[in-house]
Amino acid sequence: MKRFAGFIRKEFYHIFRDTRSLFILFGMPIAQVLLFGFAITNEINNVDVAFFDKSKDATTQEIINKISASKYFTNKQMITNDAEIEPVFQKGSVKAVLVFEKDFSEKLTKENKTYVQIITDATDPNTSNTINSYLNSILQNYQLEINKDIKAPFQINSETRNVYNPELKSVFTFVPGVMTVILMLVSAMMTSISITREKELGTMEILLVSPLKPFQVILGKVFPYIFLSVINAIVIVLMSIFIFKMPVEGSLFLLGFESVLFIINALSLGILISTISSTQQTAMMISLMGLMLPVILLSGFIFPIASMASPLQVISHIIPAKWFIIIIKAIMLKGVGLSFIWKETLIILSMTLFFIIVSIKKYKIRLE
């Protein structure tokens, strides 16, 4: 045990001596959380729109003013003929063009009905949908205004209560996601690299012929990273509470426990990667190329899993990050206890065991 403690101390020395890596390890998550917490959002603001007004009457002018005054849209330019529309989009900045039909006002008073065409740059379908619905709501408000003298006999209203995140802040989805991505990648990458590094430099053999047992060697290598990752997790949680005002409805203790479990899961994945790669380069490419995009895309970090096709939903089950994101959101925002998330916890736990067992098997084969 004393020998083992000495070994762990050696590992800590290694890490703390490399100040540059240390700086990156601690500075990086902070910088990323800050940046993404503020910058990543789906809400739209100041979208450039153009108008093609074939009617040029009081009503269209009023509508144009209303749209330009809204904080969502900026009146970029006026267009005077059809041929101009496409180039405006191709240049890139304008996302929507509103085309008012001829005799707009006249039709509205005479026929009670008139048309406006909303052309959106649908290369980004999401933004296109959002722009459409925002423009429509401006149009509808205007309609209510001009119809205010006509009273409907009855109205079915729906009153919406947005629970867990009443202000619909996108920070609440993105911060847990960023935390997960950082913990997963940093932990898996660090362990896989530090183990393969010893292999590559030939020092692994020296450690293995020492009286330490192989699992002690691995454990000793991993232990400092558990420590580092826990610090990272704590920093991120503190930032999300104090900077992004995320609530912690549930128990902090449970959050801590689940985070440690997830960190161990990521570290054991790192060990597994190190058993199948012989050079640092391979280990890094597997942990970066293999993990980064799947963790970002299939974990529910940015894109809702429920909307994906079912084969993808099945694949998402094997991404540990997906389960951890569910857990963090449940604890922080919903305030539920272990009884609600025991399933997810158990899944992460079994994945961890699986990674460890496979690593041990692979490891033994190599030693023989």
């Binding site: 503020f38 191709q90 109205q155 209203n157 012989s278 190329m289 995009l293 809702p304």
Partner: protein, 373 residues
């Protein structure tokens, strides 16, 4: 010139000899392109919907049927009270709860307003917003139908004035996310592979000790850097080409603009990424450090590229930061040229910025490579 050829030859041999690495730089990215392009969608579907029907009348059931008929909602169950429904939401079993009040039908027949209450799990704020708009749409339609059903025909003179909007979605009529995502994800994969490989390259020779051997040869700095860059430049092109073929054949992504323009831009873009990689490689001491730095930048580049979340939504300071993000330029150009058919003139501003960037990065790479300490 000859010297450069020898370095290129050597780099290629080393790349193709590393059997562990080959699948990671070839199959892995293409597989990800195939799978992950399907995952990246903001479309909100399969919303699990539940309700508490306190009225239990024909009208209330008709409303629920409306939700059932919608492709967005997937009606799972009714709850006897709000308490059970809330518990199910806490467990994550339902996204939306609709509560229909007692006397829903009776109030309406008496020409009284009535309030439905809707509870949405809003942890994902953006999705909640979309769900809310779907619900409002259905309720509004239902309101219209109910009026026709329950009221005498109204006086045409007193009809409300109506401004109809006709949406047209240009460049992506079916609002297909894959059309939007495939070019972007392809850009990411090409950028990641080339940045990681070039970032590890020189520092690896440093760690193994062969760099010292190179430094005592009369090789020129620019020969060395060019020789090192070229193979990865080629790899970038090969990946892009296979990726474009997959985009066309599998995803049927439109390619309206000129492919030559894309290749021309890629040639310059790759220089930015490779120069950046070699620069990282030069000022780090170990592969580990190099990778941490490369990782740090690539995550920022990816998430701030406008690929997943629109750049216009970012706060002003963040939009300025994206000006330093080469991936943003590439994503934008791919979408402009492939999906909108933008031509050379349209991309000039982006192209100029990229060229300046390439000159700076490669200047730094050559400058920071020191044969003498």
């Amino acid at each position: 010139m000859n010297t450069i050829l020898y370095i290129i030859q050597k780099e290629f041999k080393q790349i193709f000899r590393n059997k562990g690495m080959l699948p990671i730089i070839s199959i892995l990215p293409l597989l990800q392109l195939l799978i992950l392009s399907n995952a990246a969608t903001f479309e909100i579907k399969n919303i699990t919907f539940s309700y508490i029907d306190k009225d239990q009348t024909t009208l209330s059931r008709a409303l629920i049927e409306k939700f059932d008929a919608s492709t967005y909602f997937h009606v799972i169950t009714d709850f006897p009270s709000i308490k059970e429904a809330n518990a199910a939401m806490a467990k994550g079993e339902v996204d939306v709860i609709l509560e229909i009040p007692r006397y829903f039908e009776r109030d309406l027949s008496n020409q009284q307003d009535t309030d439905l209450s809707v509870t949405i799990n809003a942890i994902d704020g953006a999705a909640a917003g979309v769900q809310n708009s779907y619900i409002n749409q259905i309720v509004k339609d239902f309101d219209k139908k109910a009026k026709i059903l329950m009221l005498p025909p109204s006086d045409p003179l007193n009809k409300p004035k109506n401004i109809e909007s006709i949406p047209s979605s240009w460049f992506n009529i079916t609002l297909d996310y894959k059309t939007f995502m495939v070019p972007g994800i392809l850009v990411l994969l090409v950028s990641m592979i080339t940045l990681f490989l070039s970032g590890m390259n020189i520092v690896r020779e440093k760690e193994i000790g062969t760099l010292e051997q190179m430094n005592v040869t009369p090789i020129k700095k620019h020969q060395f850097i060019i020789g090192k860059l070229f193979p990865f430049w080629v790899i970038g092109f090969v990946l892009l080409t296979i990726g474009l073929i997959i985009a066309k054949v599998v995803f049927n992504t439109p390619m309206i603009g000129s492919l030559w323009l894309i290749y021309f831009y890629t040639a310059i873009y790759l220089l930015v990424i490779l120069g950046m990689g070699l620069y990282i490689s030069n000022f780090t001491d170990t592969q580990q450090q190099a990778m941490f730095i490369a990782w740090f930048f690539i995550v920022i580049f990816i998430l701030m590229s406008g690929l997943f979340t629109p750049i216009e939504s970012m706060p002003y300071w963040a939009q300025i930061l994206t000006e330093f993000n080469p991936i943003k330029y590439f994503v934008e150009i791919m979408r402009m040229v492939m999906l909108k058919g933008s031509g050379f003139v349209d991309i000039i501003p982006l192209l100029v910025k990229t060229i300046v960037y390439a000159i700076i990065m490669n200047g730094l790479a050559v400058w920071s490579y020191k044969k003498t300490n």
